[in-house]
Symmetry: C2
Subunit: 331 residues, 2 copies
């Protein structure tokens, strides 16, 4: 009756995240009280945001050292003291990096039966909905628009680019390395890919978007954001989804050049968002995503690691860009 | 039959604008050809944008050294070779810093008879319309919102704050010096003013908006922009109107911190605009502005200098923030 857990032993502060920030512990399996459920973790989602939570309050409170590392995933109900959930049901839960968790039942909802269930964490989970709402609600692409997405081989970026193609746009993905670029163009149907690790990055970007960018979906911030800002067309839109380049390490001393000057002269709109802001439109979004997956227009790429112990290294590797598609860990 | 002109003798490049960048010349009064009109300049508008035009292409082509300095204003038709204009009519014209100009008539429109005619360059001109559209279309303030405006004692800022008060907002103006601050609160009805020249600026701003900012109307960019960005509430809107702090001198090496990180976590919208983007709504805007001026809810402050020779110094002083309200020069 044990419960193995990964604890965030100490906060990384301005350092790069490393294995020694985490520790494996064995606790006791908790018991659910009134209105609570006991959950067994099946899959834990790994996301750049996990690292951002260590930097301070974001859209959720800051993490503290010494506690079970926070993280969401797919869990199975083992014991239930609420009427709407029974053993065997699957739920999304903010259960942390551990095998078992007790949570209040009232905010948990039974998930639909859907195979493979990992899709609930990728295309039908936060990644897919983030791509969908960020692109369509913040980017507002029209057919023929030039759409650029950074971290294009990641869980969100790979879906953003494919949705933009479905909407009739010309799509350029920014990703690290030629191999990822080939995957984007040959497998996912992107029109072009640009390698941000190339010393020629800015020139390559300009060559890929000679007439400028209508919609830029930013997952990275930093120099990639700046390069795209300077390449925007008049009346362009930037969907600000994350700042991957800025999560792992000390906060940057300065922001990108051209702010706010280029926003004015090019009449740009920049909009930041978090997926839960659009929750009331989830049903429509999921129906669209399921239709595109069923028709083969949207390919789902998942990167599933095995075992609780692989969580720290899996997150560190994700921050370094080693994943392709949605990374998660099977527990 | 002479035509005195102020020439932009050489571009300031990364230097601060100075009198030696300009030269007074006397040319010959031009004659209108077919479809053209001869205009006599009455008032020339001075705007921070005049300096931005010297930095490169913006929403208009970059200025070049050796030519008559560009600038718009109020001109009187002296001779007309078009049917819709006759001698004595007043028009807005991009006539440059000179006593006389010949322009094609087809893009000129007769202005309504309105007293004082200087209002055509302030509250009913670019300044008033910029304030109106930027605040209402980009800022989207609701009654009760906390609205902050920078360069608040300037031509645009002083109108932004008053419109925000008319819309039921709590209004804080950022301006240089205590005297301007007193004018904003005592004469224009702002709720508070913050002196950006104070070494305590950030603390004073925080104290003036303890719960944060819903709408920030940015005229300055730079450190003021950054301080307001950090003070934004979730779902706040930033109307990007100009970057006064960045026009006169070398371009800044870096942009404000917090971009794009704070845009994401606070789910902000930043929107740049230029007044002509909203031209099709001008009629409604002018009707609103005229109504507010007539009812005394909107006070119009003008700063009228005398004579062509005062144009260079008037612009240099405006960039240093010495004006209160709309600055123009009577020719």
């Amino acid at each position: 009756m044990t419960n193995r857990q990964i604890v965030l032993d100490r906060l990384p502060g301005g350092d790069q995240l490393a294995p020694e920030h985490f520790a494996l512990k064995t606790g006791e399996r908790p018991s659910p009280g009134e209105g609570e459920v006991l959950l067994k973790t099946r899959y834990i989602s790994l996301d750049a945001a996990n690292r951002a939570w260590m930097q301070g309050a974001t859209y959720r409170s800051a993490l503290e050292g010494g506690q079970v590392m926070a993280g969401g995933g797919l869990s199975e109900v083992v014991e239930s003291n609420v009427a709407h959930l029974k053993p065997g049901d699957l739920v999304f839960a903010d259960a942390g990096w551990q095998e078992y968790a007790v949570l209040p039942g009232k905010r948990l909802e039974k998930l639909p039966d859907l195979k493979p269930e990992t899709h609930l964490l990728s295309v039908y989970g936060v990644a897919g909905l983030t791509a969908y709402f960020g692109l369509l609600e913040c980017g507002k692409p029209k057919a023929g628009d030039v759409v650029v997405v950074s971290a294009a081989a990641g869980s969100v970026g790979s879906i953003v680019g494919q949705i933009a193609k479905i909407k009739g746009c010309h799509v350029v993905g920014i990703a690290g390395g030629e191999e990822k670029g080939r995957w984007l163009t040959e497998e996912l149907g992107f029109d072009a890919a640009v390698d941000y690790k190339s010393p020629e990055f800015k020139r390559l970007l300009r060559a890929a978007v000679p007439d400028g960018i209508d919609v830029y979906f930013d997952n990275t911030g930093g120099p990639i954001f700046e390069a795209c800002l300077f390449a925007m067309k008049n009346f362009g839109r930037i969907a600000c989804c994350g700042a991957l380049s800025q999560y792992d390490g000390a906060p940057p001393a300065h922001g990108p050049r051209g702010i706010p000057g280029l926003i004015v002269t090019k009449r740009l709109t920049l909009r930041g968002f978090v997926v839960m802001d659009f929750a009331e439109q989830n049903e429509k979004a999921l129906a669209d995503l399921q239709g595109w997956v069923a028709s083969g227009q949207l390919k789902v790429q998942e990167d599933v690691l095995e075992g609780l112990e692989s969580l720290p290294g899996g997150l560190i590797g994700l921050l370094g860009g080693e994943n392709r598609g949605k990374r998660m860990v099977r527990i």
